[in-house]
Symmetry: C2
Subunit: 451 residues, 2 copies
Amino acid sequence: MAEELEQKQGRVADTVSSLLQGGTVPEAQQMLNALHPAEIANLLESFPTTERKLLWELVDEENGGEVLLQVNDEVRSGLIQEMDEDELLAATSGMDMDDLADFMQDLPKTLTGEILRSMDNQNRQRLESVLAFPEDSAGGLMNTDTVTVRPDVSLDVVLRYLRMRGEMPELTDHLFVVSRFDHFLGVLRVSDLLTRDPSGQVDDLLDTHAVAIAADTPAREVAKMFEDRDLISAPVLDERGRLIGRITIDDVVDVIREEAERSILSMAGLGDEEDMFAPVWSSTRRRAVWLGVNLITALLAAYVIGLFEATIQEVVALAVLMPVVASMGGIAGTQTLTLVVRAMALGQVASRNSRALLFKELGVGVLNGLFWAGALAGIAILWFGRPAIGAIIAAAMVINLVVAALSGVGVPLLLKRLGIDPALAGGVVLTTVTDVIGFMAFLGLATIFLI
Amino acid sequence: MAEELEQKQGRVADTVSSLLQGGTVPEAQQMLNALHPAEIANLLESFPTTERKLLWELVDEENGGEVLLQVNDEVRSGLIQEMDEDELLAATSGMDMDDLADFMQDLPKTLTGEILRSMDNQNRQRLESVLAFPEDSAGGLMNTDTVTVRPDVSLDVVLRYLRMRGEMPELTDHLFVVSRFDHFLGVLRVSDLLTRDPSGQVDDLLDTHAVAIAADTPAREVAKMFEDRDLISAPVLDERGRLIGRITIDDVVDVIREEAERSILSMAGLGDEEDMFAPVWSSTRRRAVWLGVNLITALLAAYVIGLFEATIQEVVALAVLMPVVASMGGIAGTQTLTLVVRAMALGQVASRNSRALLFKELGVGVLNGLFWAGALAGIAILWFGRPAIGAIIAAAMVINLVVAALSGVGVPLLLKRLGIDPALAGGVVLTTVTDVIGFMAFLGLATIFLI
């Protein structure tokens, strides 16, 4: 069941792919353009570069702009390179201001000038007002297509105005009520407009407690507000309280999805806008950085092992068992770390409760440490027939799981204080600690008690 | 900047906490209830169990239901245990049908009977229709508060009907047009209702291409549809095409967020509805499972090392360097795995492109393998002064990074074919492979060429 949509898309992709190879281009084209632009974008991302270019030629011009907005950054720049100026200009027509503002950052400078010149004054000003804010702020997310009314008119007047206007922007769940100087006063709900007596005044239905968002609010925070309060749209105000635009839930959903993807991909040191068929060479370079960081931490662990070369030479069983201690610490620590990083992202960790959290995690670490220490000691004794090795590995295990709990709570708090994103760097730092402590505890105890 | 909202919430939490400790309960209560229910929920989750209970006593009854819906499952059951039947009944009043259906699963059986009895016939039928579907399907997500109109009336009649009705359900962006037998015909957009000539017929504005969702569609797929098509609400139909409810974007946003959290938490073997202050004992038991799985894989790697005890005894430097090879393979493999699992979730991996993907990843593996093999060989030679060790570790590194690329692509595809979630099990299987191959290649080559 869960695969239905995927399966459908997969079937279309397979068919399009074989039609292309068979040379029946018109049918492939028809099939492709019957999809929703978001589905076309998804499909384009899934084709290797050469086939992707062929496919992109087949996408109807009317879908082009929307598809470009939906593919990831890296795929987008690849597609843009294949387009001439006229095609690019055509793709931008009909884009929302916030989308256009994002899109223009990928275009050659000459073209952005041309786009700005081809707009009327009002639209140019609107676009420039969006471009004035960072992409990941409320101002960068906003659209400028607001419908505004005055507080001192009747609903009937508003209804007549809307009929004259002829259409409303998508996702309009309320109209914005503003003063003569564009100062935001509150909202008028569309549902009130439909259900209340038309002779009433806007004033009387004005909701002055509606959420209004300052233009410099970070996108992540905007998403949280939409999520907590079930918003569809919200007004964006400049620093003087004037209405300058509106954010809609569709853009917020994209923010939420991108944020989630970013956290998963960044844990593996990957960017979130990567083309899965990026050229081998550029993928290699990007991933090499993360591998280099890991090499340094692995060498640090190796250095610790090197301190105990003599001990290992004496008792080779230690070399066999030492990765087990390190690895269990890494797993236990990662569990605590994941929990703490998530709670930190929700604003749930502070000095008031970090102590209680630490004690709880220490408790879990000690209990699981004792339990698995017992199990592992038994296995070690059966395997190597030396009770002393069993005792030593048990002690090292308890030590490492306690250290894992300490680091799982402490490392993200420390990183945050240093201004480093714990979601990005937490895992590397933590496993370095548990590797080093794991090897040191196990080999150190062995040196003291076995040799 | 990014911390503003968190900081605000943190400040409130600190103040409430110190007010409570100082015994100034009324002020704490006032401060708490000035927050939005979602914020209260977030705050409750962040307090250790004893303080949380105190705080929960202070939440106003009118906020209670909404707060209960917003906290995670484990915290919710804890709070419900503190409430008597009357409080629980009060909390359920005014809940949407989909929320109530979820909530009832946490209530004692006696109470659910009472709730059903206290409802009128119509609402009971509605609730039962939601309860009939799994929680994570369109039917389980839907609400039953649809506004329906007939196709053969004028807009004016619809407007008068709405004024008579007096209010509309939240997030109503279109009305559903149904036949006499409740068969879904299409939607009438609220914006058309507002902007078109009221003497026109519903028929003429009927959008028959609007997305309609079958009740058994999985939640994940519903979310994808909302996301791709920027929907606010969509009708839910039974297998005979009759309108039975409606899904709104606010519930979909929750699905998206939960799905994202689940993927991050499940990578560390954690559940997504865990209380961060769960009792130590129950946390210990839950996490022990994942540690146990890891112990088995770690012992497998230890077994492989054990095969080469004699070799290590001869050249202890091998024991020092062997974790480096294993760890680099794990990192490189995780990068490929993360990329592939994400693409699979988007339906972007199929037999048509898995070969191209594999070749690309192999290319990256070989190049990064050669590069870091060179670097590591240099370090090994400088460290231990034996060129042979450098050559062997370089060869093992290339082998392991190639195997990592193969497994990064192959393991998730294989797991999926076996019906196992690659996001859950992929990491463990992959690192087991890279550990085993890393140790085997390095120690095996050393046994052949050094001894």
